[in-house]
């Protein structure tokens, strides 16, 4: 190759045999629950929980932000713990119970966090909000944050590019019964 920049001297990631669907990675069985509903699925092992809920189960409340574990928009609860769904392979969640933002309301009544986010105008564009709310639900369950400072620190995995942080903290404090 004439242009040395074009050939950096390592092999190309383009490997058609390993990119095509239905090859080495096809067809792993997994059973899990999403928002209380059981699913028995056969999945390409590359499928993340984020892609599972959005693309397979049509639960599009969970948002894909960075898809690299850096923004928190995809936060869901797995067995009650908050995690980033973009870095979680679904096939590794055999037997798990997953809660997305759609699973927080009970019989049509908003979860206290959902109501608090409305009460405090804790969002602008709303894209990070499902992740913020799921993360806050995990935070409250953990019981480690007591002060606004501690809420800020333990919510730092959820980026809000509109900068609604002040109201997000207020909303979480309300839901914690501290406002």
């Amino acid at each position: 190759m004439a242009d040395s920049l074009a050939d950096p001297g390592f092999d190309s990631p383009n490997d058609p045999a390993r990119r095509a669907n239905g090859g080495a990675g096809a067809g792993i069985s997994v059973s899990l629950k999403v928002n209380g509903t059981s699913h028995a699925l056969t999945l390409d092992p590359r499928t993340t929980i984020l892609d599972l809920v959005r693309e397979h189960l049509e639960l599009t409340g969970t948002k894909k932000g960075c898809d690299q574990g850096q923004c928190g928009a995809c936060t869901v609860l797995i067995d009650g713990r908050r995690v980033v769904s973009c870095l979680t392979f679904a096939v590794m969640c055999e037997g798990a119970e997953i809660t997305t933002v759609e699973g927080l309301a009970v019989n049509g009544a908003l979860h206290p966090l959902q109501q608090a986010f409305i009460d405090h105008d804790a969002f602008q564009c709303g894209y990070c909000t499902p992740g913020q709310i799921c993360s806050a639900a995990g935070l409250i369950a953990e019981g480690k944050a007591k002060t606004a400072e501690e809420i800020r620190e333990l919510m730092s995995g959820n980026i809000c590019r509109c900068g609604a942080y002040t109201n997000i903290v207020a909303a979480i404090q309300q839901a914690m019964g501290r406002s």
């Binding site: 950096p8 390592f10 990675g25 870095l87 995990g138 400072e149 501690e150 800020r152 730092s156």
Partner: protein, 338 residues
């Protein structure tokens, strides 16, 4: 992402068996770094072996008064464990300063040790990188190297190890228990991670196919006089520019023993027995701390954009030593540095 085969390991022996003779296989547990790297196609394993079901989730007291932490104990569980908060608070503090709670809920003890550098060139498959593609060159030398190493570098690589937890484990002199096809062994923490030399593709001294089973802490935890001080570009959820883990044993104002390590400055947590010896028997004050920092950083070298780290590391260490000596460790929720 490139396709891979997926298999669940049933026990440790099964995982070892599946890894043996399968250089394309990788273990996966928390996945917080591996899956990220697979998306970028920096890591392209032919097979993933899921070890999350293995019985490596216990934390146990050892007969000698230490603590043995199973490799699959999650970072968040470890950080809030009473035995860690009470006996090894520098470790609890370091863990809490790293990543976010979501990621700490996923990441495991063993995986934290095995995370790769966040050097942007390592992640960018369109650029040369000796760690990702040996022999292709180092783009960070002469490139954007603000986050890069100032100690222990080589002409092949100036990447840093990104872990906070490991900086604390370095001063606690943890032992890493591993197993593989040729049996069990334990590795002193100082010997676990490598400097880049001319083989930057190797981050650790684990042999091919070996699995971390536990991390063992000796009894000495420096619970009275410690600090973990992390300096970064935003107040939370960012990798260290520089960090310092400190443990002191004091007799009045006199230092009986000092241990300290820097993070964010080298390919491994940076400890130096000569610098620690410089504090032994000395009064705990700013002058002796500054001398120890001079010894620790005597061979530091900047690469232009990271020149500032040399002075920052010196100040960070002196401040952390001061916090430890006063018994006022850095809080990981209030970011005020006292």
């Amino acid at each position: 992402m490139i396709e891979f085969q997926y298999a669940r390991a049933t026990d440790v022996a099964d995982a070892v068996r599946q890894m043996a003779g399968n250089p394309g296989a990788k273990l996966v547990a928390g996945g917080t770094n591996l899956i990220d790297l697979m998306k970028m196609e920096v890591e392209r394993p032919a097979k993933l072996i899921d070890i999350t079901r293995l019985p490596l989730k216990q934390v146990e007291d050892t007969p000698g008064g230490g603590l043995r932490i199973g490799a699959l104990v999650r970072n968040s569980d470890l950080a809030y464990l009473e035995a860690v908060e009470q006996r090894y608070p520098v470790l609890a503090s370091a863990i809490k300063s790293g990543a976010s709670q979501q990621l700490r809920n996923m990441a495991t003890t063993g995986g934290n040790l095995l995370q790769r550098t966040r050097c942007a060139y390592f992640y960018d498959t369109t650029t040369p990188c000796n760690k990702r593609a040996p022999g292709s060159g180092c783009s960070a030398i002469g490139g954007h190297n603000r986050m890069h190493a100032i100690l222990g570098t080589s002409d092949a690589c100036i990447a840093v190890h990104p872990s906070d937890m490991c900086v604390a484990l370095a001063i606690l002199e943890a032992k890493v228990h591993v197993t593989g096809a040729s049996g069990d062994r334990s590795i002193a923490f100082a010997d676990f991670h490598r400097l880049p030399g001319d083989t930057p593709q190797r981050d650790t001294n684990l042999d091919a196919g070996e699995i971390i089973t536990a991390v063992e802490l000796p009894p000495k935890g420096f619970a009275r006089n410690y600090s973990y001080l992390k300096i970064r570009d935003r107040l939370s959820y960012a990798f260290a520019l520089v960090s310092a883990a400190v443990g002191l044993e004091l007799d009045g104002d006199t230092i009986k023993e000092a241990r300290f390590a820097l993070g964010g400055v080298a390919h491994k947590p940076w400890r130096d027995p000569r610098a620690e010896a410089a504090l032994q028997g000395q009064p705990a004050n700013a002058a002796t701390f500054a001398r120890a920092a001079d010894v620790l950083l005597r061979d530091a070298r900047g690469y232009e954009h990271n020149n500032f780290k040399i002075d920052l590391a010196r100040r960070c260490l002196v401040r952390a030593l001061t916090q430890a000596a006063r018994g006022t460790p850095q809080s990981q929720s209030s970011k005020k540095i006292a």
